[in-house]
């Protein structure tokens, strides 16, 4: 928790500044939207953090989201599959994709960057071919299923905000985060992942089946991305095969990095990733509400992430130096 204080501080600073500068920021409608979007991105961020913890990367997330976004309405609308078959099928598709990544990386020893880059291209192309590049959607049907993404739970009147409804994706995010955090920090498998992310060889020499664990990380990432894709699709209800989910892998990776995952592996906090995803959406929102030209939005988000990472690195370096001095003093005495 301590290492997330910095990013948590950043979140509150941007939040308060925006709230003061533009009172409409804290109206219920805006906040609900912000929470819903943050939750959706937070979900895929948690997925990719498992891969990042192993020292790997997954660039295919956006295309997996695109493919699931295409396949779900393609199955349900075009081919009239029932929900109970279509949903498991698209999740299975994601699982197979993750399994493929994991096997290529561990068995053929291909680099994760290359494997998932090829995935990025392949799934996008496949999705477009499947749908003949036609925009997909669920129309007015499937109200029940769509509640997963756009549903809201009324919380009644809240101070300052007014009548507030909690978006359902936030609850999904919470459940996923708790499961992920327990898995990572309380089970031997989470410990395996953290250990092999730091030093794969030492983990293997300690009797850990590192191959299985790496494959598992890619499967988790892809399945969570697939589930995220399902939610994004239900949320937008208008899926352009060529662009749906584009760049989402980068948002997920940025959220994970902002949240304290090191791309060198072995480090990561689920709570941090949630905050990381929230900060990115908050920045979008702030840029809009503060009247900053939206053409600058990428530049600003890029700058803020860079600043965050630099600060984090400097803090770490100062801490290491202080520790070294302290130890030298102990050794000298």
């Amino acid at each position: 928790m301590k290492k997330n204080l910095g990013i948590l501080g950043l979140f509150f600073v941007v939040f308060i500044v925006t709230a003061i500068a533009n009172p409409s920021f804290i109206n219920a409608y805006n906040l609900e939207n912000l929470i819903r979007r943050s939750s959706l991105y937070g979900i895929i961020g948690i997925g990719v953090s498992f891969v990042i913890i192993t020292g790997g990367i997954d660039l295919s997330i956006g295309s997996v989201i695109g493919l699931v976004g295409c396949a779900l309405p393609w199955l349900m609308i075009t081919h009239e599959f029932p929900v109970a078959a279509a949903v498991p099928l698209v999740l299975l598709l994601a699982l197979v994709i993750g399994l493929g990544h994991g096997l290529l990386i561990t068995q053929l020893r291909l680099q994760p960057f290359v494997v998932t880059l090829c995935g990025l291209l392949f799934y996008r192309g496949f999705g477009r071919w499947l749908t003949s590049d036609a925009t997909m959607g669920f129309g007015r049907d499937y109200e029940g299923l769509r509640k997963l993404a756009i549903g809201k739970i009324p919380l009644g009147e809240l101070p300052f905000i007014g009548k507030f409804n909690l978006p359902v994706p936030f609850l999904i995010l919470l459940v996923l985060a708790v499961v992920a955090a327990v898995f990572l920090n309380r089970t031997i498998y989470g410990r395996y992942l953290l250990a092999l992310g730091r030093n794969e060889q030492a983990a293997r020499f300690s009797g850990i089946n590192t191959t299985v664990m790496v494959v598992l990380a890619y499967v988790i990432c892809a399945v969570v991305a697939g589930f995220g894709g399902l939610l994004f699709a239900l949320d937008s209800n208008s899926i352009q095969p060529a662009s749906f989910g584009n760049f989402y892998e980068l948002y997920a990776i940025a959220a994970a990095v902002l949240g304290g995952c090191s791309l060198r592996g072995g480090e990561g906090s689920i709570f941090g990733v949630m905050i990381g995803a929230a900060i990115m959406q908050l920045l979008y929102n702030s840029i809009n509400l503060l009247g900053i030209p939206t053409t600058l939005e990428f530049a600003i988000i890029g700058a803020v992430i860079l600043a965050g990472v630099i600060t984090d690195e400097l803090v770490k370096r100062i801490a290491a130096k202080r520790r070294a001095v302290l130890q030298a003093r102990q050794a000298a005495s």
Binding site: A202, G207, I208, N209, A331
Partner: protein, 509 residues
């Protein structure tokens, strides 16, 4: 300024140098002098501070205190380039050649003569040929370095040092991977250089070669000066005494062991590194078996195959009578084996994790609670027990292993395995790079484990360690076991003969 009437200053003087690293003082107030055309042997156990001093001389690191004088003038050696300008060249134990380039290119790497902005190949070729002649190496400058045997590659390194007009040549364990013949050739070159006025700091564990080559010996122990020996004082016993700081027989707390049943039995084992040679041997419970040999003899490869890191090409491994297929370290651990690897930082530890986490790493599966949950309490008990038993010096069990000294890091690796209560303990260079106190603790721990009936197989490149610790010694040479020496046959000469493949001489002696 030195007065002109004063006696000539030594070529190189190290004056009261101290160097600290986090958690350890590597050098404490050490001094050393080197005259022109002198061969000074620098000896000491692993962790005595020899390599740190070398790095300081070669400009890789700077001292925290003290100074370096060259021709009596204090110099700041802040980079490798500065050291080279001052005429100091370091020849690493692991050679630093680009083996995809040819000999000439290696000699002039980074200092290529140019003609019209392009590399002047003709000049490289001519100058290299001249330098190669000086080190007595009869190969063409166009030969690719990876075509040369190790001994000749080393001569290329020396030629490179000469090409910068080195006046001080520092050689770190130059014979550790050479055959007897290659080593003799090297000695000739060193003697020849000495005649031409080049000074050599010669670092070696092989006391025999020190005796042959050195004009003077400086001994380090625990980062301090332990003594100097002039030419006539150099004897094997004096050197060992200064290195170890006490009588050798007290240092290795060896008691006779009662070997029990055969626990590890290896038959016809072929490793991927040396598939042509089948290895067979056994280790009894309560027995300490040493594996001696030169670097590259296939000892580490043998342990890694036994532990399932690399697959065996052929052969059987029996642990307590059961044939075991070791296809991964998991299998080996399940069979009751443990490996303390040579490369502690890469293979033994997750450096960024806590002492406690590292100790618990191998036992996670064994102690897990249902559902795969971590058994925190067990991990805590194990780590507390190991910190106490092995006297691991750490502020607390949550300390990150990286910040411990080498000896304490090694104890963490040992703690990880002892908490698994292995039947067979494989140790690969268990005391490399650790201080003398921790070393002795590791020796007594090996004794204690043997007494409890653990079968111990340990690889060591330190002759004293092999002689001091093993009940029985297997000697390897180029992937073969060239001999097996019982306790009463064990001697430095016999081990060296077998290690260099000279089986006839060993058995005759």
């Amino acid at each position: 300024m030195t007065a002109s009437t004063a006696p000539a200053a030594p070529l190189l003087e190290v004056r009261s140098v101290t160097k600290r690293f986090p958690g350890v003082t590597a050098l404490s107030n050490v001094s050393l002098t080197l005259g022109t055309g002198e061969v000074l042997a620098l000896i000491g156990e692993n962790g005595a501070g020899k390599s740190t001093l070398m790095k300081i001389l070669a400009g890789v690191q700077e001292p925290d205190e003290g100074e370096l004088l060259i021709d009596g003038r204090a110099e700041r050696v802040d980079s490798v380039q500065t050291a080279q300008r001052l005429g100091i060249a370091l020849i690493h134990q692991e050679l630093n050649l680009s083996d995809n380039l040819d000999v000439g290119a290696n000699i002039f790497l980074g200092r290529e003569p140019l003609k019209r902005g392009l590399i002047y190949r003709q000049k490289i070729r001519e100058d290299s040929a001249e330098l190669l002649k000086r080190v007595g190496l009869n190969v063409s400058p166009d030969t690719l370095v990876n075509r040369l045997p190790i001994g000749q590659q080393q001569l290329v390194e020396i030629a490179r040092a000469l090409s910068i007009n080195a006046r001080v040549l520092i050689m770190d364990e130059p014979t550790s991977s050479l055959s007897t013949h290659e080593a003799e050739r090297l000695f000739e070159v060193v003697k020849d250089l000495r005649q031409k006025g080049v000074s050599v700091i010669y670092i070696s564990h092989r006391l025999g070669e020190v005796k042959e080559l050195a004009d003077r010996v400086t001994v380090f122990r625990d980062g301090r000066n332990a003594g100097d020996l002039s030419r006539e004082e150099i004897t094997h016993d004096r050197m060992v005494q200064l290195m170890v700081g006490r009588d050798i027989s007290q240092f290795y707390a060896r008691k006779p062991h009662n070997a029990g049943n055969v626990v590890l039995k290896v038959e016809g084992l072929r490793t991927p590194a040396h598939p042509d040679h089948a290895l067979s041997f056994s280790v009894r419970s309560g027995e300490i078996v040493g594996v001696a040999g030169l670097v590259g003899a296939g000892r580490t490869e043998l342990l890694q195959v036994l532990f399932g890191v690399d697959p065996a090409v052929a052969g059987t491994i029996r642990v307590a009578g059961q044939v075991c297929r070791m296809s991964s370290p998991r299998d080996a651990i399940a069979a009751g084996m443990a490996l303390v690897p040579e490369d502690r930082k890469q293979q033994g530890l997750v450096l960024e994790m806590a002492v406690r986490t590292n100790i618990g790493l191998a036992g996670l599966k064994r102690h897990q609670k249902s559902g795969g949950f971590l058994n925190d309490a067990q991990e805590g008990r194990d780590s507390a027990a190991m910190i106490e038993k092995l006297r691991i010096k750490t502020p607390n069990e949550r300390q990150i292993v990286q910040y411990l000294s080498g000896g304490n890091q090694q104890k963490v690796v040992l703690g990880k395995w002892l908490s698994m209560q292995p039947k067979v303990l494989l140790l690969d260079e268990p005391t490399r790079g650790i201080d003398i106190g921790a070393k002795q603790e590791i020796y007594s721990l090996m004794e204690e484990l043997a007494e409890q009936g653990v079968a111990i197989l340990f690889v060591s490149s330190e002759m004293e360690e092999i002689l001091g610790m093993s009940d029985r010694t297997l000697v390897m040479h180029e992937g073969r076991i060239t001999g097996e020496l019982q306790r009463d046959e064990l001697g430095e000469e016999a081990v060296m003969q077998l290690a260099t493949g000279n089986v006839a001489a060993a058995t005759a002696g």
